[in-house]
Symmetry: C2
Subunit: 207 residues, 2 copies
Amino acid sequence: MNPSKVPDIVIGRLPLYLRALTQMAQDGKEITSSQELGGELGISSAQIRKDLSQFGEFGKQGTGYNIEFLADQLKRILHLDQIWDVALIGAGDLGTAIANYGGFIDRGFRIRSVYDNDPSKIGTWAGAYEVHSVDQLEKDLRDMGIKIVMLAVPASHAQEVTERLIAADVKAILCYAPISLSVPDSVKVQYIDPVLHLQHMTFYLSK
Amino acid sequence: MNPSKVPDIVIGRLPLYLRALTQMAQDGKEITSSQELGGELGISSAQIRKDLSQFGEFGKQGTGYNIEFLADQLKRILHLDQIWDVALIGAGDLGTAIANYGGFIDRGFRIRSVYDNDPSKIGTWAGAYEVHSVDQLEKDLRDMGIKIVMLAVPASHAQEVTERLIAADVKAILCYAPISLSVPDSVKVQYIDPVLHLQHMTFYLSK
DNA sequence: TAGATTGTTAATCGATTAACAATC
DNA sequence: TAGATTGTTAATCGATTAACAATC
């Protein structure tokens, strides 16, 4: 597989497949089919087979897919056959909720360090994590080799923090602030803005 | 405009346009162009003009778009020329963070009521909201006429709560649980799962 | 008027689906 | 063997982009 040739929209579906497979495995299932998996996710079986075929042949004609095997392959493809250290910037309500969320480690991510710029918060705890000053942010992240950051700071500070992240050689940012960040092509950004989703749905609601 | 004929992917971009326009207005700008707006968002100017043309003619040749006017039109199209009451189900860490988030009201949404199924939480406060029992959930939501719910309960309870929401005539669900919900076509669902975004980005990271 | 930018059409590009030979 | 399901090809469908007349 040549990574640069696989459409990004396909890559975006792989974590969804992995999530459904993990659920099936927890339910004690061993085998599934593209039809069953698609039914679960609201995706056509043809699309699932096409997506997977970009990376290899993982199924058996007449039988389907071994759930554990396919999940392992997806983890390998997505570079989830390791645990990624992540830094969390921002220890407000949202940052604290993220710090307390227990759902990261099972899916490949570990919060390594938490930062805030508010002097009154430094040294306090956000869940299990001591809150650190952003004074040494670049050096800290470089020393720890952190490539992924969850950014939970106010929109007004998000771009300036982002520039420091870029300087620290961070390569992936999950931005919770409701703005579009400017980054070089070498840095990936994903956004979470709940209001965008709500506003998308109100189009379909009658007043 | 015939709503059913506009592609959903176009609808999904309108809130993004609105967000950028609102930012421009706050910065004191009065006029923008499809090129400037696109530059801000990483979208081509042709796409922005095409998207907007689905709903009418909002610009002036040679000049561009009046920011306030276009924002008002987008609000009207998205049914954001009113405030929507929203219920929040789940008053754990995430629910509490959502309850404390101040960014909803300016963008068209007001949290009206907060619910949890944990007896020890009933009567306590999540930010400015008293936590209510889910015992009377269907009746409560119907009485208040609530059509939109933010669902911040554990994955293990999300589907059963969803069935109660459907029974209560809720039409839009923003689901924070990492699962796919089963709902009839008449109910819209949007999902927020931060781990999916992280796993999408790790594909592009070298180990 | 000259310069700029819209709204729209046609062309291009890319993604999804249908269909089926291969084969478990 | 008969039934089922994959992986893949070709056809279809839909979205994006390029280009430009209209016009502010």
